[in-house]
């Protein structure tokens, strides 16, 4: 069992949990992830390591409530425990030789991009961070991102924070204005990553994306997480999750992510019934 030592609500759908997992904390690196199960019947679900504290022996995850498991996780409080917490999994990000980087987070992707920005910043790399949200109420990690970047641009789809547009629009503007980067890191919904890759391609800027296919074990034993990169099958859990975005087949990724739509809906309904059952009697 793994104890929750801190909980924060970052916006109505996004929560942060700091969890005691000393073995994982000792080895964790930016770019890696964990797989947890909330309880004995739970599904195995992956989350990026948003932060870690080797001395305290804790690992932080930031997640969005999108379905049954994440909603269940969202109900846990400080002092509660999760059943399983396995990691660190996946390959750590490598940034050797990078001097100037753009780190782009789309929505919740900001939480996944944050540890990478932090690492780059600590290596002395100049970081432009661009984060985007649907509206100003959904903005997360503003302070944290500002602390690890030389320049932070936050944009909203509806312009409610004063800047309107998608993260890809902002990046394009910067590039047109003459910004140049050794690497662009783009993390967010697949469609956003795809569009960012389309923006950087003509400039020949290396673009790293973090892929989030459906996973089971996270150790390379099921192949459920397979993605096509440069025409070859890769297992995102062991070969990634970071890949060269210009090589990724995003259409396939999006299609595979929708494989269990119907049973996911049923699962949320079931949980709702149970919760309401508890409340009503």
């Amino acid at each position: 069992m793994y104890r929750i030592v801190r909980k924060e609500i970052l916006n109505p759908q996004v929560k942060l949990l700091e969890i005691e997992a000393p073995y994982v904390a000792r080895k964790a690196e930016p770019g890696q992830f964990i797989i947890l199960r909330v309880n004995k019947e739970g599904e195995r679900v992956p989350f990026t390591i948003a932060d870690f504290d080797r001395e305290k022996g804790t690992v932080t995850i930031i997640f969005q409530e999108v379905g049954a498991t994440t909603q269940l996780l969202g109900q846990l409080n400080e002092g509660d425990e999760v059943e399983d917490f396995c990691g660190p999994l996946g390959v750590a990000s490598h940034f050797e030789g990078v001097k100037k980087a753009a780190v782009i987070g789309g929505g919740l992707g900001t939480a996944i991009a944050y540890p990478q920005a932090k690492k780059l910043h600590s290596m002395g790399v100049s970081v432009d961070a661009i984060t985007g949200f649907r509206n100003k109420d959904l903005i997360i990690l503003e302070k944290e991102m500002a602390a690890v970047s030389d320049r932070l641009i936050i944009t909203t789809d509806d312009g409610s924070n004063g800047t309107k547009g998608f993260v890809s629009d902002i990046l394009k503007k910067l590039l047109v204005e003459g910004a140049n980067y050794d690497v662009v890191i783009a993390i967010g919904p697949p469609i956003m990553m795809k569009v960012v890759c389309d923006v950087t391609r003509p400039y020949g800027i290396k673009t790293i994306v973090s892929l989030n296919p459906i996973m089971v074990d996270g150790t390379g034993m099921c192949g459920g997480c397979r993605v096509t990169v440069g025409g070859q099958i890769k297992f995102a859990c062991v070969d990634g999750p970071d890949f060269d975005g210009h090589e990724v087949d995003f259409t396939e990724l999006m299609r595979r992510l929708s494989m269990y739509k119907d049973s996911e809906k049923a699962s949320v309904e079931r949980h709702k019934c149970r919760l309401e059952g508890v409340v009503n009697g």
């Binding site: 019947e41 099921c222 192949g223 397979r226 494989m259 269990y260």
Partner: protein, 463 residues
Amino acid sequence: MANMSLKKVPIPEQDPKVRSKNFDEVALGYTEEMAVEEAKRCLNCKHKPCVSGCPVNVQIPEFISLIADGRFEEAYEKIIETNSLPAVCGRVCPQETQCEEKCVRGIKGEPVGIGRLERFAADWAMSNTKRTYKKVSKNGKKVAIVGSGPAGLSCAGDLIKMGYDVTIFEAFHLAGGVLVYGIPEFRLPKSLVQKEIETLLEQGVEIKTNMVIGKVLTIDEIFEEGYSAVFIGSGAGLPSFMHIPGENLNGVYSANEFLTRINLMKAYKEDAETPVMRGRSVAVIGGGNVAMDAARCALRLGADNVYIVYRRSEAEMPARLEEIHHAKEEGIIFKLLTNPTKILGDDKGWVKGMECVEMELGEPDASGRRRPIAKSGSEHVVDVDTVIIAIGTSPNPLIRSTTPDLATNKWGCIIADEQTGRTSKEGVFAGGDAVTGSATVILAMGAGKKAAKAIDEYIKSKN
């Protein structure tokens, strides 16, 4: 007086029509009377040919004559002198190519039902006796075991009895290896595997789950934690794909993924959190136990048609005879001498069919089996919405890629001495599928036992 019937005493089984809709165990096991009657078919041969067919040398005629005498507990004790997982082996060993193949009664008629009797003795002991353990004095040395499949479990079982502190590191959230994630409930009830694992826990073995060695700790870091030796029993869990067009369509699974969702994550239960696709028409590619298990699971999830698509003929199928027989009884359709060339998708990217060619057998290949060759012009499409690929697995690279001084062969298998499990790295032993590639439960168990003995000798030699 020996029972001279040419046939084994039949084992009660669930009716195929009923069992193809549930996940309960297929074979129900002998009653005491049936076991005694079958045991009396054994001629108690002096030269014991059957024992030479058993990879761990179970004293077969001895335990069978104890059953014939109604001394069931002693029969069980006799088996576990050499086999620590009899309830498992009695159910899943390929007896027809091991002990029973050598049985004299098999020359004319059916061999003695050694597997069924082994299972009987184990099940009888489980429900009628309480296991007690001799108190062993601890020797203060720690041994680490990577992986909790049959190899790791049997190695742990022997080392704990020798007085070592034993810690098993398991990547999954649950111990048992293929016994819990691969082999389905209807063939090997999970409660039984759980009992075997509890036996180890009661004796003091520590199991640390969620520990992916190579990631959370390397082999060298395990030594830094004060362990005197490490046994690697990490299995052969990396699934092979066919590299044909359409393999990434929605509805294509590796057998590992399909079976893990069903067995480990319990996706066959209506209210399970983990989903699995319930196909209407399912093709399983391959001819081994894994393929049979996947096909029979798909059927139980409600498929109308389930095909086994295998490129050679039935004679070359590596699956246990009993599984092939059970699969046919349940209505699985065997498409033999057939090889898939392409998986077809609809405009939304879901599987809608599979293109295959017919094969014929040519000259024997390196494996001694006749090589299948495609017949030209035999292309045809099979109507399926789910495809499960069960063409084999190889060892996962996580450990070898983080342990540079551990020698492996070109298939990624760890190179280890057959008698001792000793590897190229000092203090590191290995056995089971991680060394041999996919093999059997009994071979993995045997390797774990041999390594336990060698580890004991190694540690003593260091003092």
